[in-house]
Amino acid sequence: MLGQNEQNIKKRMEGRVAFNKILMVLFGMATAVGLVFLVLLFYRVLTQGIGYLSLDYIMNFPAPYPEKAGIYAGLIGSVFLMIIVAIFSVIIGVATAIYLEEYAAKNKFTDFIRVNIQNLAGVPSIVFGLLGLTFFVYMFNFGYTLIAGGLTMALLILPVIVVAAQEAVRSVPAEIKEASYGMGASKWQTIARVILPAAIPGILTGAIIALSRAIGETAPLIIVGAATAIYTLPDSLLAKYTVMPIQIYNWTGRPQEEWQYVAGAGIIVLLAVLLLMNSIAVLIRNKYQRRL
C-alpha cells in the first residue's frame, strides 16, 4: 500500500519536473523568435542593399534611374534636421528637467507637468505631424521647410529628453550639492557649476538615444511635407529638404524590383548612422559611469 503511494508521488513529481523542463525550452524558443527576426531583418537588408551601396550612392542625389539614384540629399538633410532638433529639444528638455528636479514645488501644477510629459510620450508620432502641420507649416507660415520639420521633431522627442535629463540630474549625489551650498554657493551657482557638469554624461547619452529615434522617424515628416525629390542641399532654415527615411519610403513604394535594392542600400546607410550614434552613447556612458 505504502509502496504504491510512494510510486504515485514519484510519478507525479517526475511529471512536474518534466513539464517544467518542457516549458523552459518553450520559453527559450519564444525568446529566440525575436532574436531570429532581428537577424533575418539585418541579413535581408544587407543582401538586398549591398549591391547598390557605393561611394557614388552616398554622394548622388535622387535620380529617375535606380543605378544613378543616391542618398546624399537624405543623408545631409537628416544631419541638418538633427542639428535643429538637438538645439531646441536639448535646451528646452534640460531646462524642464532642472525645473522639475530642483525648483518645482511639490504641488498640483508640478504633478500636472509630470503627468503631461508622461502622456505626451504616448501620443502617436503622426499626431505630432498634424500639430506641426497646423502650427509650423500654416499658422507660422514656414511652409514645407527644414525649420518646420525640425521643430515638429523637437517636440516629438522632448518627453524622452526630459525624462533622461531628469534621471541624470537626480543621480547627482546629494553630498556634492551640499558641499557646494556649504561653501556659500547659491542655488543657480550650484546647478550651473556642480549639478550640470556631473549630469552631462547622462544627459548626452539620453539626448543621443532620443535623436537616434528622431533620425529614423518618417510619419510626422511626411505630414509636414518633407520632399521626396530634392536636387540641392538645403541652404537655409526655410529651404525644402528630404531625409533618409523619406527617401527609403519613397523607393520602397515603387513597383520595379531594382528600387527595392536602392531602398535596401538606403536602409544600410540609415542603420549605420544609428549604430554610430548608439555606439557614441554607450561610449560616453561607459567612460563617465564610474567617475562619481
Binding site: R16, N20, M24, N116, G122, P124, F135, S212, G216, A219
Partner: protein, 315 residues
C-alpha cells in the same frame, strides 16, 4: 594727520568694496530670480504642446464636422473621401485588425521571453539577450515596413497562395514583432521586482520553477504585466509606417487578415502625400481621423497608468 588721511582712504576703500559687493550681490540675486522663471517657461513648452495638440485636433475636427455630420462619420461604413463618403468604420476596423494580429504575436512571445529572462536565464545570458532584444524597438519603422513588404509577405505567400501583396496579416505580424521588446522588457521589470522571499517560500513547499512562475511570480507581477500589454497595444494602434507600406490603402471593413486594408494612420499619410488642398473637406478629415486615433491611444495610456498605480503591489 597722515595717519588719519590714510585711514580715511582705507575707509573709503572698504566702503567702495562694500558698495561693489552689494551691486554684485544684487546682480547675482537678479539671476537667481530670473533663472527659475526661464526654466518654468521651458517646462511650459511641454504643456503648450499638449494644449496645441488638443487645440489643433479640436478646431480642425469642428471644421470637418460642419461639413460632415458626426453621426455619418461614426456610423457610416464606407470610407472613400475622394467621392465624399466619410464613414470612419473601415479605418477603425483596419486599425483594430492590425492591433489584434500584433497583440496575438507580441503578447505570448513577449510574456514567454519575459519569463525566460526573469526566471530561467542566468545573469550572464540576461545581460546579453535583453539589450539585443531591445534593439528590435530601436529599428526605424520604415525599415520594418520594407521588411514586411519584401520579405514577410512573400514568405507568407508560400503558405497562403491567395495572399495579396498588401495585406493585414504581414503588417500586423511585423507590428507585433516590433512591440515584443515593449511587452518583454516592462513585464520582465515587473517580475524582477517580485521579492525573492516569495519565490523561496514556494520552493520551500516543494514547488517546481514553473509552478513558482505561474502561481507566485505572475500573480504578483500582474499589474505591471497588464500595463505593459496595454502600452504595447497603444503603440500598435499608433503605428504608421509599417501598415502604410505593407497593409495597403484599401479602406475595407473586414476581419479577413489576408485582405488589403487601411488603418487610420495610413489614411493620414495617404491624404498628406496626395495633393490635398488646405481647407478642403479631405484636409479637415485628416484631423477628424487624427482626433479619433488620439482618443484611442490616450484612453489606452490612461488605462495603463491607472492599472500600474492602482494595483501596484508594494513589497
Amino acid at each position: 594727520m597722515d595717519k588719519g588721511l590714510q585711514s580715511e582712504g582705507k575707509m573709503i576703500d572698504v566702503q567702495q568694496m562694500i558698495e561693489r559687493n552689494k551691486n554684485k550681490k544684487s546682480f547675482g540675486e537678479r539671476i537667481e530670480k530670473i533663472i527659475p522663471f526661464f526654466l518654468l517657461l521651458c517646462a511650459a513648452v511641454s504643456v503648450l504642446t499638449t494644449v496645441g495638440i488638443l487645440f489643433t485636433l479640436l478646431r480642425e475636427s469642428i471644421g470637418f464636422f460642419s461639413n460632415v455630420s458626426l453621426i455619418d462619420f461614426y456610423t457610416g461604413t464606407s470610407w472613400s473621401p475622394w467621392s465624399g463618403e466619410y464613414g470612419v468604420a473601415p479605418l477603425i476596423g483596419g486599425t483594430l485588425l492590425i492591433t489584434l494580429i500584433a497583440t496575438l504575436v507580441a503578447v505570448p512571445l513577449g510574456l514567454m521571453s519575459a519569463i525566460f529572462l526573469s526566471e530561467y536565464a542566468n545573469d550572464k545570458v540576461r545581460r546579453v539577450i535583453k539589450p539585443v532584444l531591445e534593439v528590435l524597438a530601436g529599428i526605424p519603422t520604415v525599415v520594418y515596413g520594407y521588411f514586411a513588404l519584401t520579405f514577410i509577405t512573400p514568405m507568407f505567400q508560400a503558405f497562403i497562395p491567395d495572399l495579396g501583396i498588401f495585406n493585414a496579416l504581414s503588417g500586423g505580424f511585423v507590428v507585433g514583432i516590433m512591440i515584443i521588446p515593449m511587452v518583454a522588457s516592462l513585464s520582465e521589470d515587473a517580475m524582477n521586482s517580485v521579492p525573492n522571499a516569495l519565490r523561496e517560500g514556494a520552493y520551500g513547499l516543494g514547488a517546481t520553477k514553473l509552478e513558482v512562475v505561474f502561481k507566485v511570480v505572475l500573480p504578483a507581477a500582474l499589474s505591471g504585466i497588464i500595463a505593459s500589454i496595454v502600452l504595447a497595444i497603444s503603440r500598435a494602434i499608433g503605428e504608421t509606417m509599417i501598415v502604410t507600406i505593407a497593409a495597403g490603402a484599401t479602406p475595407n471593413l473586414t476581419f479577413n487578415p489576408t485582405e488589403s486594408i487601411q488603418t487610420m494612420t495610413a489614411f493620414i499619410v495617404q491624404a498628406a502625400t496626395g495633393d490635398t488642398t488646405f481647407g478642403s473637406t479631405i484636409y479637415y478629415s485628416l484631423y477628424a481621423v487624427g482626433m479619433t486615433l488620439f482618443v484611442f491611444t490616450l484612453v489606452m495610456n490612461l488605462i495603463a497608468q491607472y492599472i500600474s498605480r492602482k494595483f501596484r503591489e508594494e513589497y
